[in-house]
């Protein structure tokens, strides 16, 4: 530990939440997964719901989320996190249940489960990390990869005629009557992180109302998969992903 100024007489204004385990995270330097994990755990800590929360980890870089998140967790098969979360929530309707998935997991192999979970309006929070690539398996094209993006399976850039178009799955789920709250956030600046935190807070507050699914897309980075430094990656994300995946709310509950 290192600190230039002395901390005597100072008070802690930010520290690791107890809901985050001590295990150092395996993510690459600068990877957005870590930030989202932390913010999620901060909210659970601050809301005091650690003992009533069950999370579902996906297959993807965040497959080990359960090593870091200090809540009961299940690790789902690739793409099925929302089905697993459905199973949990249906038998434990009073618990807080969330799923956490990448773009390959949620928007490729898991498309059917994603659409139907939201369409049923399962009273869960779905967190969707869109980094426009398959991080874990070594940087292959994701459904959300942008046109022209070079990945290990689009070495000459994604072309719509060969590989289809970037899939805006969040826009699709927004259409579904089961969606209660849908928002798209990011974690590349302190301000963005604060907004994401509010969105997660709101989602957990909505959950006991049983009004439907809360769905949060986080437009994120993959420095390794994109072959960039974290700073470059965030800049690339702002420049190339934000126009396609604009940050902001897509559906907010009607005041009543």
């Amino acid at each position: 530990m290192e600190s230039a100024a002395t901390t005597n007489h100072m008070e802690i204004v930010y520290e690791r939440p107890v809901t985050l385990t001590d295990t150092p995270m395996h993510y690459c330097p600068g990877c957005g997964h870590g930030v989202v994990h932390r913010v999620l755990m901060e909210v659970i800590n601050e809301m005091g719901i650690q003992d009533r929360t069950v999370g579902v980890a996906p297959v993807g870089c965040s497959v080990f989320a359960y090593n870091y998140m200090n809540v009961d967790m299940q690790e789902a098969a690739h793409g099925r996190a929302s089905a697993v979360a459905t199973g949990i929530k249906r038998v434990l309707p009073e618990k807080y249940v969330y799923s956490y998935q990448g773009d390959g997991d949620l928007a490729a192999i898991g498309t059917g489960e994603t659409i139907h979970t939201v369409n049923r309006g399962e009273n869960i929070l779905m967190i969707f990390i869109n980094n426009a690539i398959y991080g874990m398996t070594g940087g292959q094209m994701a459904p959300t990869s942008i046109l022209g993006q070079v990945t290990s399976t689009t070495p000459y850039g994604r072309k719509s005629d060969l590989n289809g178009f970037p899939l805006k799955i969040t826009d699709l789920v927004t259409q579904l009557p089961g969606a209660y709250y849908v928002t798209r956030q990011s974690v590349h600046t302190a301000a963005a992180v604060r907004k994401l935190k509010k969105a997660i807070e709101a989602s957990f507050k909505y959950q006991p109302l049983k009004k439907g699914t809360c769905f949060i897309e986080v437009v994120s980075n993959c420095p390794s998969g994109w072959k960039m430094t974290p700073i470059e990656a965030n800049a690339w994300m702002e420049k190339n992903m934000f126009p396609l995946y604009p940050i902001g709310d897509l559906k907010v509950p009607k005041q009543n």
Binding site: H26, Y27, C28, C61, V63, M136, T137, G138, S224
Partner: protein, 188 residues
């Protein structure tokens, strides 16, 4: 040299451990030898440690996975701890000097510490440390001819990095020199 030579090369990911092995295998194949290169392919994510087993043989290779080695080229401390005891008596442990805090204590093997990182800095390219180690290794265990190593390098390096070939050649040579210098003081 007996008919098969079994090598372990181990270090952190990104240190060029795997390509070192590939270069040896490729050069040996060009010389008509049988070769196998077996990486420990890591978890489905970045980082961590990396190693590969390279076998060069006059005869057909059966198991590409072996648990004792004729030579070990070691680039970090965890790898040394993992593999030092698996080198056959009389074998070679070559290691990057600055990366190893506790050198091997065995006395029944040849130990060759090479300050590859330091030397690479001198060449203004940390990335060629592995070539320095390779040069040193081939000086002690001349499994393949230097010209074939250069050819292999050309094949293994992506085209866009071909301008680095001379630097790599220099590094190989520097490694050879170091090994020669050390030979005099090396302890069995």
């Amino acid at each position: 040299m007996k008919t098969a030579h079994e090598i372990i090369i181990a270090g952190f990911g990104g240190q060029g451990v795997l390509s070192m092995g590939q270069i040896i295998a490729y050069a040996a194949m060009k010389e008509g030898k049988e070769v196998s290169w077996m990486p420990s392919y890591g978890p489905e994510m970045r980082g961590g440690t990396a190693n590969c087993i390279v076998i060069v043989s006059e005869e057909k290779i059966n198991s590409p996975i072996v648990s004792t080695f004729d030579s070990a080229i070691i680039l970090n401390q965890p790898s040394l701890e993992k593999f030092a005891d698996h080198v056959k008596p009389g074998g070679l442990i070559l290691f990057e000097e600055s990366s190893i805090i506790n050198p091997p204590s065995r006395t029944d093997v040849e130990k060759l510490p090479v300050a590859a990182l330091e030397e690479a800095q001198k060449l203004n390219k940390r990335q060629v440390a592995n070539m320095i180690l390779l040069g040193a290794f081939l000086e002690r265990r001349p499994l393949v001819a230097p010209e074939n190593v250069l050819k292999a390098l050309k094949e293994v390096l992506p085209e866009r990095h071909h301008h680095l070939l001379p630097l790599n050649e220099q590094a190989l040579l520097r490694g050879k020199q170091i090994a020669l210098e050390l030979a005099h003081e090396s302890v069995l």
